[in-house]
């Protein structure tokens, strides 16, 4: 028995080309078919074929992937939703203004970004449909007799001599393959089956990439569901202890009443756990008590309520007066003892300033007007928005502070503790989870299953023996084609020695 010979590509398990079956499958319509389609019906059919070919084309896939990569990268490098001044500071005045006017300031919600996903879904769907047809066809019985060229076209080939007549040699090879878990593929009707043999193992792996791509399409569909404004929402609820926040969801509306919230601390003083004890209230009745902690949200009627942060309003506010009171800025602290900048802010009408508290000191300080009591550090932006023109005007205590004809004064307010909850509803979540499941299943198939194919031709030799040429292919991370042939050859040799013995 001769040794196996691999071809020039020595390593196992690679897969080239887009087909996977034993028979070649046509990738594109033939030139002859296109030339013959001269009628208008034929031209229309040709256009449809070209459109279909473009939809599943690898070039379109690569272009879409490349564009998505670039767009996403830009979306993380260019600050999203910032002010014109912020872009001018980052990129210089001319370029910054150009960027501010472009959709680079909101890449992830831009129409063209969504269009990339739509095109990708179409491309993936077309690929899946095409691939299912190829795989299903390849797994049917062989449509044509096996040729020597098909055998030699495999990833690895080997030649042996068996001291048996062709029919007996065929049976021996078939037995060896069956014991190794291969499924023999029936020869086409009329073929001399002692002269050729096909076998396959792990065919289910062909479905792995199909399942992954189907899962991706399902994920994109689920994400699209989550963008429907009539069904999905993402809100922030600021609830003080004892208050109830109403989650408006039409007939399924319900209330979340905050009973209490707090922090558990480690011996070192850092936060160990945040918690919020709440009640779900519906039609005036308490449905159940729920404790919300990080990673343990409240889920009810499809709403997903998470604990974002705790706040502590110590009972102070900065009152703004221009002759009469024109507004109040609450002093709200977060769970780390710093001012909660998102809550300690107010937009005034006259003057049209954005005013916020950037610091708070309960103990007396040294600034004028603050002796003998707590004080708040006030900042404002006279443009009424968050810009680079923001300035701190100073510490404001009970004595007050005047700035450009406006009086700021620290006054008592309602003290409260509370939580900031994220209230989310996304009807696409179950669809996305299904897509994830398909992706994981497809990846598992691709990782753990190796598809192996054997094609062999047998021809009589002088002296009563049989010359066998075997071609093998392997697709996956398991043993490659050369290893398959090696172990097959060892098996055949062992059987021949046993027969001789």
């Amino acid at each position: 028995m001769s040794d196996s010979k691999g071809n020039s590509d020595l390593l196992p398990g690679s897969h080239t080309g887009s087909g996977g079956g034993l028979n070649a499958t046509p990738e594109e319509p033939s030139r002859g078919a296109e030339h013959n389609a001269e009628s208008s019906q034929g031209l229309s059919a040709a256009r449809d074929l070209r459109l279909w070919a473009w939809l599943y084309s690898p070039a379109l896939t690569l272009w879409l992937l490349g564009l998505m990569i670039v767009a996403m990268a830009l979306g993380t490098i260019v600050p999203q939703g910032a002010s014109v001044e912020a872009y001018e500071r980052a990129f210089g005045v001319p370029l910054g203004r150009l960027v501010a006017k472009s959709s680079l300031t909101h890449v992830f919600s831009a129409w063209w970004f969504s269009l990339l996903f739509v095109l990708l879904a179409v491309n993936l769907t077309a690929c899946v449909v095409r691939r299912v047809r190829i795989v299903a066809r390849a797994q049917d019985a062989a449509a044509s007799p096996l040729t020597s060229a098909q055998v030699r076209g495999r990833r690895a080939t080997a030649a042996w001599s068996i001291r048996l007549a062709p029919a007996a040699a065929h049976d021996q090879l078939a037995r060896v393959l069956r014991t190794r878990g291969y499924r023999l593929i029936p020869a086409p009707a009329g073929a001399k089956d002692e002269m050729a043999l096909r076998a396959r193992r792990g065919a289910i792996r062909s479905w792995g990439p199909i399942i992954v791509h189907t899962g991706l399409v399902v994920v994109v569909l689920g994400a699209a569901c989550g963008r429907l404004p009539s069904l999905a929402f993402h809100r922030t609820a600021v609830i003080a202890s004892g208050d109830t926040y109403r989650v408006a969801m039409g007939e399924k509306s319900f209330g979340i009443r905050l009973l209490n919230a707090g922090i558990e601390r480690t011996p070192g003083g850092g936060p160990s756990q945040y918690w919020a004890r709440t009640q779900i209230v519906e039609h005036g009745k308490v449905i159940r008590n729920v404790t919300i902690t990080p990673n343990h949200p409240l889920r009810y009627h499809g709403a997903n309520v998470v604990l974002d942060s705790l706040f502590d309003a110590p009972g102070y506010a900065v009152e703004v007066k221009k002759g009469k009171s024109v507004g109040c800025v609450p002093v709200v602290m977060d769970s780390s003892g710093r001012v909660d900048l998102m809550s300690s802010v107010t937009l005034l009408k006259d003057p049209p300033w954005l005013v916020w508290v950037r610091g708070f000191r309960a103990a007396p300080g040294g600034e004028p007007g603050t002796e003998g009591g707590p004080a708040a550090l006030v900042a404002l932006d006279e443009s009424g928005a968050v810009t680079a023109n923001r300035r701190e005007i100073g510490w404001v205590g009970a004595g007050g502070l005047d700035y450009e004809g406006v009086h700021f004064e620290l006054v008592s307010a309602h003290a409260s503790k509370g939580v900031r909850l994220g209230v989310h509803r996304d009807p696409g979540v179950p669809v996305v989870w299904s897509g994830f499941g398909l992706i994981v299943l497809g990846c598992l198939l691709a990782l753990f299953v190796t598809r192996r194919e054997i094609a062999a031709t047998l021809s009589p030799k002088g002296g009563g023996g049989t010359a066998v040429v075997i071609g093998a292919s392997a697709f996956g991370l398991g043993p490659g084609a050369e290893s398959v042939l090696d172990s097959l050859g060892a098996d055949l040799e062992a059987r021949e020695q046993a027969d001789r013995g």
Binding site: S8, D9, L10, L11, P12, G13, S14, H15, T16, G17, S18, P58, T61, L62, L65, G66, M68, I69, M72, A73, G75, T76, I77, P79, Q80, A90, F108, V212, A223, H234, T266, G270, P271, S272, Q273, Y274, T293, P294, N295, H296, P297, N304, V306, G422, V423, H424, D426, V429, V432, W433, F436, I439, V440, C443, L444, A446, L447, L477, E482, S483
Partner: protein, 282 residues
């Protein structure tokens, strides 16, 4: 114990890398076997360090930046050694690639050792990290990034070797370009599902922790970009038939995306608003 094991693994990885270089030059089998043995010892020391850290911290040992660097180095070495043992062997001797792979592990451990003492401490978990998803999410990242690192070592070696191909080249002792190219592909094919799982487990965890499964957070986005780059590689190779230097450059770009996701994202101006900012290591 952990510090000793880390220093030991650093030294053993470096030693193994140098012996692999010697093997590449001489092709003496004993030298190659010795390099492999030293590499396995280094992996053992690295494993011991991770176990010690896990016991000391009372949790999985790959949460902080320092721990993740230890785990990343471990994954690079482990994936390389498993591929060498399981998939390569006598038919395609790719042990010269071990030098680059282990030098990457050395670099990761070196960067970890340069962090401040405060960042090296075993910190208790922040409330938002107290979830079983932490185990799966970061483990899949460790394995996926490790395999990507090994693939990059092979791709770099491919580009060097293909510059001077053939049996008469001064680099003739190195594996043939086709073998390196194929091995890099197999590493990426192995890494790809894990990189997909990083995004999937992260999304499921984010739904519990932050109320939404995807928010285009910079870290999330770059993790997806990394996966898409490798998807580009696989489609270019398998569907468009790309071979040669350009597909290996894509593999290297993919690893650049891995490193940017791991370390570079925290340098972005937009990162301060990221929900992942606790993982910046600063």
């Amino acid at each position: 114990m952990e510090a000793i094991c880390i220093k030991l693994s650093f030294g053993l990885y470096l030693g193994a890398a140098l012996v692999y270089v010697l093997y590449a030059a001489s092709r003496w089998e004993r030298v190659g076997q010795f390099a492999t043995a030293v590499a396995w010892l280094g992996l053992g020391a690295n494993t011991a360090a991770l176990v010690a850290r896990g016991i000391a911290a009372g949790r999985v040992p790959y949460v902080t930046m320092y721990e993740y660097l230890m785990a990343f180095a471990w994954a690079v070495a482990a994936v390389y050694l498993i591929f060498e043992w399981r998939f390569w062997g006598a038919r395609a001797d790719l042990r010269p690639a071990g030098s680059l792979a282990l030098l990457l592990a050395v670099g990761l451990l070196g960067y970890g050792s340069s962090l401040s003492a405060e960042l090296k401490q075993a910190q208790t978990l922040m409330p938002v990290l107290k979830s079983n998803w932490l185990i799966f999410h970061i483990f899949t990242a460790v394995v996926g990034y490790g395999a990507a690192g090994v693939a990059t070592a092979l791709a770099v070696l491919y580009l060097v070797r293909s510059r001077w191909p053939g049996p008469d080249s001064w680099l003739r002792q190195l594996p043939e370009p086709a073998e390196l190219d194929q091995a890099a592909y197999r590493c990426i094919a192995f890494a790809f599902p894990f990189l997909a799982l990083v995004n999937i487990t992260g999304a499921i965890w984010a739904y519990d922790a932050w109320g939404r499964y995807w928010g285009w957070d910079p870290k999330e986005t770059w993790s997806l970009i990394t996966w898409l780059v490798y998807a580009f590689y696989l489609h270019a190779r398998l569907r468009s038939g790309w071979r040669g230097p350009r597909v290996n450059w894509i593999a290297i770009i993919g690893f650049a995306a891995v490193m940017f996701t791991f370390i570079g994202v925290s340098q972005l101006a937009t990162f301060s608003q990221s929900r992942h900012s606790y993982a910046s290591g600063r």
